[in-house]
Amino acid sequence: MNATSHEGHQATLSDGRPPLVVCEDLWKNFSTQQVLKGVDMTIPAGAVVGLVGTNGSGKSTLIKCLLGLLKPTRGKATLFGEDPWNLGTKSKGKLGYVPQVVQLYPWMRVEQIVAYTSAFYENWDPDWADLLLERMDLPRNRRVGPLSTGQKQKLALVLALGHRPELLVLDEPVASLDPIARRELLRSLMDLTLDNQHTVLFSTHITSDLERVATHIAFLREGRLVLFDELDAIKDRVKRLRLKSSGILPENLQIRGALRMQVERDQALVAVTDMDENLLHEIRSRYNAEIMVEDLNLEEIFVELHHE
């Protein structure tokens, strides 16, 4: 399974629009450390992509390479069809980004920084920004400096969303948000993407946030994209199989796309990446086994993939 093999699924989503983000064989080294090891990914217009992976898997580095904030060691990326390293002003105006560590002018008041930011964007939507401030429960007259980490993150989100960006990129947006703010953020992301005209890429390791809002999931592991597909397709195909054979099972089962495997005499538990009727039929006849198929949620899939 690789990043480009399932593009067929995406046709309905993007309606023939060109993909907003493409990267091909993207590598990034920091001195001797290889952080990205050949990432291929195509994000169709209108997708809401959840980028998941453990700490240190390369999520932030990938985002920064895609946005032109880091120069890839090898390979190339395009953003709105342009080289992200030399992104035009027009494209920058269509982009919203919240980095993991937020930097805001500490001396400004909340409403001042909103007004200040709005001046940079032709498409700034004051009513929408106002609604976002309210949803995020931010004190308009307070200075930015003494705000808590979570409040600063909320403010950064308002500033990134205020012009209804065509592409919104959020690096760990929910890390320091309380549950209410998290809900409001997800609600605002829904509002933004409801017209199918806005694309979102956000990294997180809180998978439950993704399951409602995401159309696609990208799994990054040790600098490689191990899985990229529609969330529905992933849930339909990544399954845990419980085998019960009429004889003793071999310790190493030959099963296509197997992830983690536990074999105990006549029983086995196997997670697979590509379940379908053919696979079940294969296993049934090869091992003389009855099979129970268990559904996995995103967190369980994440864990299974991590143990691959």
């Binding site: 989503l13 829904m190 993407t193 409801l194 199918n196 439950s208 399951e211 409602r212 159309t215 529905d232």
Partner: protein, 137 residues
């Protein structure tokens, strides 16, 4: 329907079952239990997505699959409707089912000495009225 449609649904995002499948299952259930009747409109994709706070594509996928399964049908320019379930048996068999009622009507008409062509005309008028009220597929 008095209650908001979305209250009829229970979506579990963190279940292993994809949300579009949950939607499909629950729409099938609503039809089976009679809460959705043939001809009923289901809410638009956008409305469902908004009310259930799920992605637009998820709803549209569920509707498209139910349409392919013959459970919903697209009413152009209006929306998706619950498709009238296909009727059991051949038309001859179904005709047989109403024979007792026809016999009853014929007996009554004969006893009341009504002319046959006028009785037939009356039945035809009733059928025509139904035809204009609800187009049958």
């Amino acid at each position: 329907m008095g209650t908001p449609f979305s209250l009829l649904f229970e979506i579990h995002p963190s279940s292993g079952v994809p949300i579009y499948r949950q939607l499909m299952d629950q729409i099938r259930l609503l039809i089976a239990s009679g809460r959705l009747a043939p001809g009923d409109l289901v809410p638009s994709v956008r409305q469902m997505a908004e009310e259930l706070q799920i992605n637009l594509m998820t709803v549209s996928k569920a509707y498209a699959r139910l349409e392919a399964e013959g459970i919903l049908e697209r009413d152009r320019g209006i929306g998706m409707r619950v498709k009238p379930s296909t009727l059991p048996g051949s038309s001859e068999q179904r005709l047989e089912q109403i024979r007792p009622l026809v016999d009853q009507l014929a007996t009554l008409a004969w006893q009341m000495k009504l002319p046959g062509d006028e009785v037939l005309q009356l039945v035809k008028n009733s059928l025509d009225l139904l035809d204009t009220r609800e187009p049958q597929s």
